[in-house]
Amino acid sequence: MQHLDEGTIHAWLDGALSPDEAARVEAHVAECPQCAAAVAEARGFIAASSRILTALDHVPRGVVPVARPARWSNPAMWRAAAAVLVVAAGSLVVVRNTGRDSKAGYTFIETADTAPVLQSASPITILAKPSQGAAGSAVQQNVSPAQKSVEKRVATDAAVPTEQTLATTRSRVAESGNAGALSSRPNIVTSDNSVAATPTAPAANDSAGKISPASGYASVQPPQSRIMLRGMTALSNDRDSTGVLEPLKVVGRPRQIGAKITLYEVTPTDTVTLTELMNVQLESVVVTRMSEPTKERMEGQAAGKAAAAPSPQRTDAAVASRQDSQREAGGVAGAEQARARSVPAPVTAVGTANGVTTVTWTDAGSGNVLKLSGRLPLPQLQQIKIRIERERAAAAAAAKKNP
């Protein structure tokens, strides 16, 4: 057989030859070093030209892209903005709360005001758990966005064992909203708003985000993806976690065998993934944040007002929340404290790859290995870790008390 011409080789490599022809080419290449070399060269050209053509796709023709439009897509900007708001809001809360004793349990209050006047002020979410409390009852908040109703729940656990009742108050406020909600608003307030409908919803979301001082993140909380704390077993109750944190928003729970994965939205642009490799079960959490510039900005404003709005609560919850809010005001320091207090299992490993930081530790309660990873600096990741641990503890407590 004659040597192969280049066109035939390309056609062969492109799979364009008939089976007969292909067989002949193949046979020849097998025994002709010269043509084998030509085939190798042709492969190189095919691969290289394909790569070059792919490069075309990266940029519109003739245009050299400038850096990305500087919208508020930069997480750092949001963080900075959030930090400012948090500090402002936190200090207000602290001032209001000063002088109260902290007692018991775990308090969680969720309030959403849809009333026009209140809207801006209402959406603040604080989750407080006093350090002195017993196991603390977990609070779980459920909002049914579809109903556009406001749900308020307050769960309070008395520190004293005998008093360890869980009081749950749930009030629903019609969408028209009423001032009453405001007056009864606990220090710890979590607002859930359905993003969907009302203009006010965005604001509410924003404010909620701002209030996670400890982490210094602003988080937007789309209503639908409300916090879902799963009942977690085997978490240590003795861990007294403190700190007020809004629940991390769970944006997804990819299924994986042998592990639980949860995606959390930490900030609009940051997602954290918690993977729990379980001896018995696996649980993972992922945090994700999407940025919704407009909403967030609105939220920010709302948050400021909201901070001032909360009126004192008479229940233990108020106390608890106060404590928490103070801690929150402490910002990072508070988080650090909280961490020290709660004495979570030590971080056993920290790794960074491709900008993704991963923290690995062993859960004290369950003995499971937890992996938290996200595109965040280590300190932030550790704060999220603390929050997750708290939520887990809360969920476990809730599961225990409210089977």
């Binding site: 011409d5 280049e6 066109g7 035939t8 080789i9 390309h10 056609a11 062969w12 492109d14 364009a16 042709a42 190189g44 050209f45 095919i46 290289a48 030209s49 394909s50 070059i52 053509l53 490069a55 075309l56 990266h58 940029v59 023709r61 003739g62 050299v64 892209p65 850096a67 789309p222 639908q224 993806s225 944006v251 997804g252 995606l263 642009t269 997602t271 994700t288 999407m290 491709n354 900008g355 595109r375």
Partner: protein, 104 residues
């Protein structure tokens, strides 16, 4: 549904960040510019054949579109690829030399 959308957006965002890190934007732009130059340097028939092939058309379709005989598509493509790669490499080389000169 909404959540899925959300996740999709996130994934997209994630991909963007991974695939096009800030640092390499310029480099990518340069590569793309060179690629375009190299493609533009091809004869029209070669260029069209190559782009069609890249789009997934098979030899018969390319032959039909360009009014070639099916047998010559391989030849056209082989020539187009070789020239594309050669001119791209030439551009690359000249760029490297420019940078070298600029550095020294």
């Amino acid at each position: 549904m909404r959540r899925r959308k959300h996740l999709a957006l996130l994934a997209e965002q994630e991909r963007d960040e991974v695939v096009e890190p800030e640092e390499t934007t310029l480099e990518r732009a340069q590569d793309a510019a060179m690629a375009r130059k190299a493609v533009d340097a091809l004869a029209e028939r070669d260029r069209l054949a190559l782009l069609m092939r890249e789009e997934g058309l098979d030899y018969n379709e390319i032959a039909e579109a360009l009014q070639l005989s099916p047998g010559s598509v391989g030849t056209t493509l082989s020539r187009a690829r070789r020239r594309l790669v050669e001119s791209y490499e030439a551009l690359q080389k000249s760029r490297e030399e420019r940078e070298k000169n600029a550095a020294s």
